[in-house]
């Protein structure tokens, strides 16, 4: 999966976003199901999709009434695709199918009127009048959405039904059991005639309808597209999402990006999400930082918004600039493949092999969350260092978060989680000592999740030790640790 597998999409909060994307028609649902990244080859289509979404957002804001009218009609639409297909293949539609087509045509005319007032000017969204089909299916001209094989369709049908009614009256009036049986037999014969004649009528109707198939198909497709665009627009409005600028170069820049799923979880605990700010270019960028510093959340937020942008969706940020990419990979040890019996490390390496094959031939994005954390630290460091160096020479954007010190080299960008750097350590310690129960919460409250760009030489902060002290690890033990820190410096 060049753009994350199902499980990973779930993990980064993409599935959450998709669930919020509420289409109203079966046609829109189909569009939504087919959503995929546009890739570099279809950059023009991506741009157009974003422009179209912008138009609809604008429309929803300025022509609210009209759009709620569209939604009202959308809610009533049913899927007639298979009937239309049968009609196309010259099959005789049954009365229920004809009913559904009639129902569709009547709603279509309602929709058409509103649609014309929307003044959308979106290529590929074109609605045709189906008035001629209505005339066909509504010979009584009542314009009510019910249907039967009307007497008007055939003089013979009318006669047969007259005969049927007569027999039914006679059956009711008759007292003699044998006569009733005979009458019922006669009625059955008439029923057979009725069915034959109805079939003839249905054949004729289906054939005539097939003349308009193209219009039906175009309308269903347009409805699906509009429905989907409206769903995207509503989502963008709800979250105040932004239209990403599509960059020609390998530049990725996010200002105040959020991850709606994580934000919602935090909100339920009365906490807020620290927006992510980052600028990335091709080559390697390394994120270092404290434990509990939210490096994984940062990566997930970047990957999520990047992926949404690739699919023509608005991005959850104040500003966003993205390149169009041919792959987005996210390697993290959450995804360890237990079913294959691999260790975390093994799974990471296998995944990395796949990724590197892509990096060599295509332009894309690659995030590695604490790569090689599961193996021994010395070897882990060497691997991360080599990987970082290796990736600098390719056109793809690589983002690596790590615990290890001394990974960053001259030609790499280095970001660090601010963490507890600016915290008055003694004051916090005092507060925690007073309030032992909530030590973790207090640390989280004081943790600064913000990223800051630092020089390559910036040390990985000693937040691990600090956190251990704050959480009240035995003093003797802490002192031994402090000794090691001193030795190293």
């Amino acid at each position: 999966m060049k753009f994350l597998d199902k499980e990973q999409r779930q993990q980064i909060g993409f599935t959450f976003v998709m669930d919020q994307l509420e289409v109203m028609t079966p046609y829109g649902a189909e569009e939504k199901k087919d959503i995929k990244p546009f890739k570099i080859a279809h950059k023009d289509k991506l741009l157009k999709e974003l422009d179209d979404t912008e138009k609809v957002i604008e429309g929803i804001k300025t022509k609210k009434q009209l759009y709620s009218e569209v939604e009202r009609i959308f809610c009533k639409l049913k899927d007639i695709k298979s009937s239309i297909k049968r009609c196309k293949h010259n099959e005789a539609l049954d009365d229920i199918e004809l009913y559904e087509i009639k129902y569709f045509t009547l709603l279509n005319e309602e929709l058409l009127e509103v649609f014309n007032n929307l003044d959308l000017q979106i290529e590929n969204i074109r609605m045709n009048s189906l008035e001629e089909a209505i005339v066909l299916l509504d010979p009584e001209g009542k314009r009510i959405p019910t249907f039967y094989i009307y007497d008007q369709y055939s003089e013979r049908l009318k006669e047969i039904r007259g005969e049927k009614t007569k027999l039914e009256h006679n059956i009711l009036k008759e007292e003699d059991e044998d006569t009733i049986i005979m009458l019922k037999q006669q009625r059955l014969d008439v029923v057979i005639l009725e069915e034959e004649e109805e079939l003839k009528v249905r054949r004729e109707l289906s054939e005539k309808l097939s003349d308009y198939i193209h219009y039906f198909e175009q309308n269903m497709e347009s409805i699906g597209k509009l429905d989907f665009l409206m769903a995207k627009a509503r989502l963008a409005i709800k979250y105040n999402a932004v239209k990403p600028r599509i960059s020609k170069k390998m530049e990725l820049s996010l200002k105040d990006a959020v991850n709606p799923e994580i934000e919602e979880v935090l909100k339920s605990r009365e906490k807020s999400f620290t927006p992510v700010n980052i600028d990335l270019v091709d080559g390697t960028t390394v994120i270092t930082g404290a434990n509990m510093g939210g490096k994984s959340v940062t990566l997930k937020t970047i990957v999520l918004n990047l992926l949404l942008g690739q699919m023509g969706l608005y991005v959850f940020a104040k500003e966003a600039q993205l390149p169009v990419l041919d792959f987005v990979y996210f390697v993290s040890d959450d995804m360890q493949n237990i079913s294959k019996g691999l260790s975390t490390f093994g799974a990471e390496i296998i995944k990395l092999k796949e990724v590197i094959n892509c990096v060599k031939t295509e332009k894309g994005f690659l995030a590695l969350d604490e790569f090689a954390r599961g193996t021994n630290p010395k070897e882990g460091l060497f691997l991360v260092k080599s990987l970082s160096r290796y990736l600098t020479k390719y056109d793809s954007i690589s983002l690596i978060s790590t615990h290890y010190d001394g990974v960053v080299e001259e030609d790499m960008v280095h970001y660090q989680v601010v963490g507890l750097k600016n915290v008055n350590f003694e004051a916090l310690k005092y507060k925690i000592d007073l309030n032992k129960k909530h030590s973790v919460e207090l640390i989280q409250e004081n943790m600064e999740y913000r990223l800051e760009r630092v020089s390559k030489d910036s040390q990985v902060p000693k937040d691990a030790l600090n956190i251990s002290i704050l959480l009240g690890l035995d003093e003797e033990l802490v002192n031994i640790a402090k000794g090691f820190y001193a030795d190293k410096e």
Partner: protein
């Protein structure tokens, strides 16, 4: 001789259901009987739980009376069933409810004729369909129901219920009478009248099969897959605090017996079933249970208004009509109607 007028009995209600003690007791006969009686007097809406009105019963190969309806009647039935009907029909709407026999469609009969009914099998859908039929101007909506472990939709969603019984149930008349009497008793199990408790029960998650409600309103949801196998967990979790045991699904003899065997804490506790169709316990077990202080009530009451009897069995024997009626009347304090005795077609 039969002075009871079934039409007068059902007229006051918006919805009624007809359920049969067994496959061949003449449930469809009862329905046809009502259709006949209502002709020209009541505008009917018809549907059924699951599928019925089959031409022939596959097991006994007896010809079943089909449903012959009047022009103007509205139906909610599955697509496939509609193709097996011979009325001239107007399609009024599709419901989006899908069954094994296709989507349930609402139609109006433009002629008299035979129809096959196959409606939704879930309570919520059944309620929706009944509402729709009623909304089309039906004076009375009749649901052709089922009394079986396999059925999900329950007659409790209708305002009144008719129970059909007949000779087909057993060769022994006494057995038929006894079983029918017992069924009436179970179906008419008293509804829990504590509104507060009913409210608590409504909030129990859908997937939970068995729960215990304590004095302080706390609810213990037991981790069991089906109510049938839950006795052990119930026994383990019954404390002095428990006042209600709520059972979603079947309450069987085994369930009640296993509880009685292993504890006496059930005394004074009310067991709540969803409704009378979910209770499958014998007269003896129920008697023992209640004598020892257990109480059995339901969340949704079923209003059984009469019992119909069919003395003729498709298996080739027939009861003495009068004796059968007499015995039923002695056993059951509801109106008993012999639909076959009435001359109708």
């Amino acid at each position: 001789m039969n002075k009871l007028d079934i039409l007068q009995m059902i007229k006051p209600y918006n919805t009624i259901s007809i359920i049969g003690m067994d496959k061949n007791v003449g449930k469809t006969t009862v329905l046809n009987y009502i259709l006949e009686k209502s002709r020209g007097k009541l505008k009917l809406g018809l549907t059924s739980i699951g599928r019925d009105g089959e031409e022939e019963d596959r097991v006994t190969a007896t010809e079943k009376p089909r449903i012959y309806i009047e022009k103007g009647t509205c139906l909610a039935t599955a697509k496939q069933c509609l193709y097996n009907s011979d009325i001239t029909r107007e399609i009024l709407s599709t419901t989006g409810i899908h069954t094994a026999m296709g989507e349930v469609v609402i139609v109006k009969a433009l002629s008299d004729g035979y129809v096959e009914l196959g409606g939704p099998s879930l309570n919520s859908y059944m309620i929706q369909v009944c509402k729709e039929l009623k909304g089309l101007g039906s004076d009375l909506v009749i649901v052709d129901g089922a009394l079986s472990r396999k059925s999900f939709a329950s007659p409790s969603i209708t305002e009144a219920t008719i129970l059909a019984t007949g000779a087909a149930l057993s060769r022994s008349m006494d057995k038929v009478v006894e079983r029918t009497g017992h069924a009436v008793k179970l179906l008419s199990l008293q509804q829990e009248d504590n509104k507060h408790i009913l409210g608590l029960c409504r909030n129990i998650p859908e997937a939970v099969r068995v729960s215990i409600i304590n004095k302080d309103d706390s609810i213990v949801n037991l981790e069991v897959l089906t109510a049938l196998e839950a006795a052990k967990e119930v026994v383990e979790n019954l404390t002095e605090e428990a006042v209600y045991v709520v059972v979603k699904g079947i309450i069987s003899d085994k369930f009640i017996e296993d509880i009685m065997k292993s504890t006496d804490k059930f005394k004074g506790i009310t067991f709540l079933a969803e409704d009378g169709t979910k209770v499958f316990i014998s007269g003896d077990t129920l008697y023992k249970f209640e004598r020892q202080g257990g109480k059995l009530r339901v969340l949704n009451g079923i209003n059984v208004i009469c019992v119909t009897s069919n003395p003729k069995s498709p298996f080739g024997y027939e009861f003495d009509k009068e004796r059968f009626m007499d015995k039923l009347r002695k056993e059951i304090s509801l109106p008993i109607i012999d639909v076959k005795a009435e001359n109708f077609r």
